[in-house]
C-alpha cells in the first residue's frame, strides 16, 4: 500500500529515494506517529520531502492517493471489500437528526472503535447506526452523517473533515511560481565560478604552515592569487512593446544579476536583435552601440543571456526591413546567428509562461534559432538555463 504512495510521490515530481522511504518505514516501525492520519502526514513529509518548494506537490499527491483516508490504515482497510462499500443508499437526515447523532469524541477513540467494529463485523451493511457501511449514521463508512465520522471510500456526505493537505498552505513556495530578487540571486549564484588567476598576492596561511613543516621548521612563505568570480555575462534585455507587462520580473532579474557578477555588461533591444543595441534605456535613440562592436569587444568566453518575450510578427525576425522601428538591412535571424556563433554559451529567458509558447509563431522561430535553449523566467527555468550555460 505504501509502496504505491511512494511511487505516486515520484510521479508527482518529488525526488524521493529508497533511502528516505526506508527511513519512513523505520520511523513507522518505531511508532513515532501512528495514532492519526495527520501524524502520518507530517511524518511522511519530514522523511520524504526535503524542500519546502515541494510541499505543495506533496499535499496534492497525498490528497490524490489517500482520497478518503482508508488506505492510511492499510492493515484495517485490507479487510473491507471495495464493492461492499459502494454507495447504494443515500439517507437524508434532517437538521434535528443530525444534532442527535452523537459524536464519539476524539480521533483516537474513533480509530479504536473502528478497529473493534471491523473485527466484529462480517459482511456488507447498509443503513443502521452501528455497523460500517453506506448511508447510515454510524461514524464509519460513507454517504451518511456523523459530525466526527471517518470516511471509508467514496464521497463524503457531511464534508466536515478538514484535512491539512487540502488547505495547500505551501502553494506559493513552489519554485515554478515565486520569483523574488533573493531567489534569483541564489539561482544566479550557481553560475559563479571562482578561479584564481593573476599575480600571487594573497598570503596563504595553510600553505605556509604546510610547507614550513615539511621544510623541517624553516619558514617558507607562500602566496596565492586572489579568488574572484571568473564568470562574465552579457545580458540583453527586451524593453517596450509587449514586454511592458513583464517589466517588474525583468527589473528583479536585472537587480539580482547586477550584484552577482563582477563582469556584467547589459544592453537593451526592442523585440529582436538587429545591427545595433543601446545601453541606456532612456536615451535609446541618441546613443546606440553597433552589434558588430559588441561582437568585437567581448571575447567568446562571455555567457550571453537574452531576456524577452519573443512575441512579435515573424517578419520582424525573418525579413530584412521587418523591424517595426527602423529599416534593417539584414534580418534579425542573421544577427542572432552571428551572436550565437560568436558566443556558444547562450540562453534566452522568456517571461511568458512555457505552456503558451506553442501559440506564438515567433517564439518557435526564436527557439529554433537558439537551438531550443529557451527557458521560462521562473526559478526552475532559471536553474535549467544556468545549467545550460555551465555545460
Amino acid at each position: 500500500m505504501l509502496n504505491r504512495f511512494f511511487l505516486t510521490l515520484r510521479d508527482a515530481g518529488i525526488p524521493v529515494t529508497l533511502t528516505e522511504y526506508l527511513a519512513l518505514l523505520a520511523a513507522l516501525d518505531a511508532r513515532v506517529a501512528v495514532e492519526d492520519v495527520d501524524g502520518f502526514y507530517y511524518l511522511a513529509r519530514a522523511a520524504l520531502v526535503k524542500d519546502e518548494k515541494h510541499y505543495d506537490r506533496y499535499d496534492r499527491a497525498f490528497a490524490a492517493h489517500f482520497k478518503g483516508v482508508e488506505q492510511a490504515f492499510a492493515g484495517l482497510a485490507k479487510e473491507i471489500p471495495a464493492d461492499w462499500l459502494r454507495k447504494t443508499l443515500e439517507r437524508v437526515l434532517t437538521e434535528d437528526e443530525k444534532a442527535t447523532v452523537e459524536a464519539l469524541g476524539g480521533w483516537d477513540k474513533l480509530m479504536e472503535t473502528l478497529a473493534e467494529r471491523l473485527r466484529e463485523q462480517r459482511g456488507r451493511h447498509e443503513g443502521g447506526s452501528k455497523w460500517i457501511g453506506t448511508g447510515g449514521i454510524s461514524p464509519f463508512g460513507h454517504g451518511g452523517f456523523n459530525p466526527e465520522g471517518i470516511r471509508i471510500g467514496g464521497q463524503g456526505g457531511g464534508r466536515r473533515a478538514v484535512k491539512v493537505w487540502e488547505k495547500r498552505e505551501f502553494r506559493n513556495l513552489d519554485d515554478t511560481i515565486e520569483l523574488g530578487t533573493r531567489n534569483i540571486k541564489i539561482a544566479l549564484r550557481k553560475l559563479r565560478r571562482f578561479a584564481r588567476d593573476g599575480a600571487a598576492e594573497e598570503f596563504d596561511l595553510e600553505g605556509t604552515i604546510d610547507s614550513t613543516a615539511r621544510n623541517a621548521g624553516l619558514l617558507d612563505l607562500r602566496f596565492v592569487p586572489e579568488r574572484h568570480n571568473a564568470v562574465k555575462v552579457l545580458l540583453f534585455l527586451d524593453v517596450g512593446g509587449s514586454m511592458e507587462s513583464h517589466v517588474r520580473v525583468c527589473e528583479e532579474l536585472f537587480s539580482a544579476a547586477r550584484s552577482e557578477f563582477k563582469h556584467l555588461e547589459y544592453y537593451y533591444f526592442h523585440n529582436f536583435l538587429y545591427e545595433s543595441v543601446w545601453c541606456d534605456g532612456r536615451r535609446r535613440h541618441a546613443v546606440r552601440t553597433p552589434t558588430l562592436e559588441i561582437l568585437r569587444t567581448y571575447p567568446p568566453d562571455y555567457r550571453v543571456i537574452f531576456v524577452g518575450d519573443a512575441s512579435m510578427s515573424p517578419y520582424e525576425i525573418m525579413q530584412p526591413g521587418g523591424s517595426i522601428e527602423h529599416w534593417n538591412d539584414e534580418a534579425g535571424a542573421v544577427w542572432m546567428q552571428r551572436l550565437t556563433t560568436r558566443y556558444p554559451k547562450h540562453v534566452w529567458l522568456n517571461p511568458e509562461p512555457e505552456n503558451r509558447w506553442d501559440y506564438t509563431a515567433s517564439i518557435g522561430i526564436t527557439r529554433k534559432l537558439l537551438d531550443e535553449r529557451m527557458y521560462p523566467l521562473t526559478l526552475e527555468g532559471l536553474d535549467r538555463a544556468i545549467r545550460a550555460l555551465r555545460a
Binding site: V32, L43, A46, K50, A213
Partner: protein, 284 residues
C-alpha cells in the same frame, strides 16, 4: 523508548514540528530545519536539549568554516613553536590535535544535542564533507591513526536559511522540517509563553497591527516572530495603551515604536503610503 519532545514552557511547538523532532530523535538521524529568519530555528535545538535534559553543543557555521573544523584540527603552529623552544611534548603529535564541536558531542558521556547552525553559510561542498560523519557518527584522525566513534549517537539539528541549495545526498540522510510563519492563533500562544501577564486588549491590538504591517505587499523585510517579541517588550516598557495601536487613529499612520518592526526606510515609507491610501478609501 526515549522521551517525547512536546515543546517547553518557553517554546511553542506545532504538531508537525513535534512529529519531525520525534522522528529524528527516535531514529537518531539529523533533522534539517528551514524557515524564515526569526522563526526560532536555532532556539529549537536549545529547547530540545532543555526538554529532553541533554547537553547541547553549538557549532556556528561561517563562510570560511570547513567540515574538518568540526571534527578536529591539527595545531601545527604551536607544534612548530614548541619544536623551536625544544619542548618535550613536541614528540607526541596527539598533543596538538584540537577537538572540534562534533568530536565534543561524540565524546559526551550521555546522548548530546548537536546544533549545526546556518549550514548554508559555508562552502557548497561543506555538507558533502560531513556525509559519512553524520551517517556513521565516526571519523578517522589521520595524524594519530585513531578512529573516533560516538559513544551515543547525538541528536543533530541543522538549520539553514536557504542561501545555498544543499546536496541531494545530504538531504537524503536527514529528516526535514520547514517552520512556517505562525498563524494568528499560534502567535497568540507564542506571545502568551513569553509575556504571560500581557493585557488581553493590548495583545490583540498589537497582533492586529503586526499582521497589518506583515501583509503590506512588497516589503523588503517582513517582520518576524522575534521582531514581534522585541516590539512587545518595548511596548510594555513604554507602557503604551492599547488604543494607540489602532489603525483608525487619524493622526498617525505608523504604529508606535515601529522601528522594532520595520528595519528599512523604504519599507517604512511604503507602509505609510499604503496606510494613507487605505484611509482615504475608507473615508470616500
Amino acid at each position: 523508548m526515549t522521551a517525547k519532545f512536546e515543546g517547553t514552557d518557553r517554546y511553542v511547538a506545532t504538531d508537525d514540528l513535534m512529529v519531525a523532532v520525534n522522528a529524528a530523535v527516535t531514529l537518531a538521524r539529523p533533522l534539517l530545519v528551514k524557515g524564515e529568519p526569526g522563526t526560532g530555528k536555532t532556539q529549537l535545538a536549545e529547547e530540545i536539549a532543555a526538554a529532553l535534559d541533554k547537553p547541547l553543543y553549538r557549532w556556528h557555521i561561517k563562510s570560511t568554516t570547513k567540515a574538518q573544523h568540526g571534527l578536529y584540527e591539527y595545531d601545527a603552529v604551536s607544534r612548530l613553536r614548541d619544536s623551536q623552544l625544544g619542548e618535550a611534548k613536541v614528540h607526541d603529535i596527539a598533543n596538538y590535535i584540537v577537538k572540534g564541536r562534533m568530536w565534543e558531542a561524540f565524546d559526551s558521556q550521555s546522548q548530546a544535542v548537536l546544533l549545526i547552525d546556518e549550514i548554508d553559510k559555508a562552502d557548497i561542498e561543506f555538507p558533502n564533507d560531513l556525509l559519512l560523519e553524520l551517517d556513521r557518527m565516526e571519523f578517522f584522525i589521520h595524524e594519530t591513526r585513531q578512529l573516533i566513534k560516538a559513544r551515543h549517537r547525538p541528536i543533530v539539528v541543522i538549520t539553514s536559511n536557504n542561501e545555498k541549495e544543499l546536496p541531494d545526498a545530504f538531504l537524503r540522510r536527514c529528516f526535514f522540517h520547514f517552520i512556517r510563519f505562525p498563524d494568528a492563533d499560534t502567535m497568540t500562544r507564542i506571545v502568551a509563553v513569553h509575556f504571560p501577564d500581557l493585557k488581553r486588549e493590548l495583545l490583540s491590538e498589537a497582533l492586529n497591527a503586526f499582521y497589518r504591517v506583515r501583509d503590506v505587499p512588497g516589503l523588503k523585510k517582513k517582520p518576524s516572530t522575534s521582531e514581534l517579541l522585541d516590539w512587545l517588550k518595548l511596548l510594555l516598557a513604554e507602557d503604551v495603551p492599547p488604543e494607540a495601536l489602532r489603525a483608525d487613529d487619524p493622526r498617525k499612520s505608523l504604529p508606535p515604536l515601529y522601528g522594532a518592526l520595520l528595519k528599512n526606510e523604504q519599507d517604512v515609507h511604503l507602509f505609510e503610503q499604503v496606510m494613507f491610501l487605505q484611509r482615504r478609501q475608507q473615508r470616500s
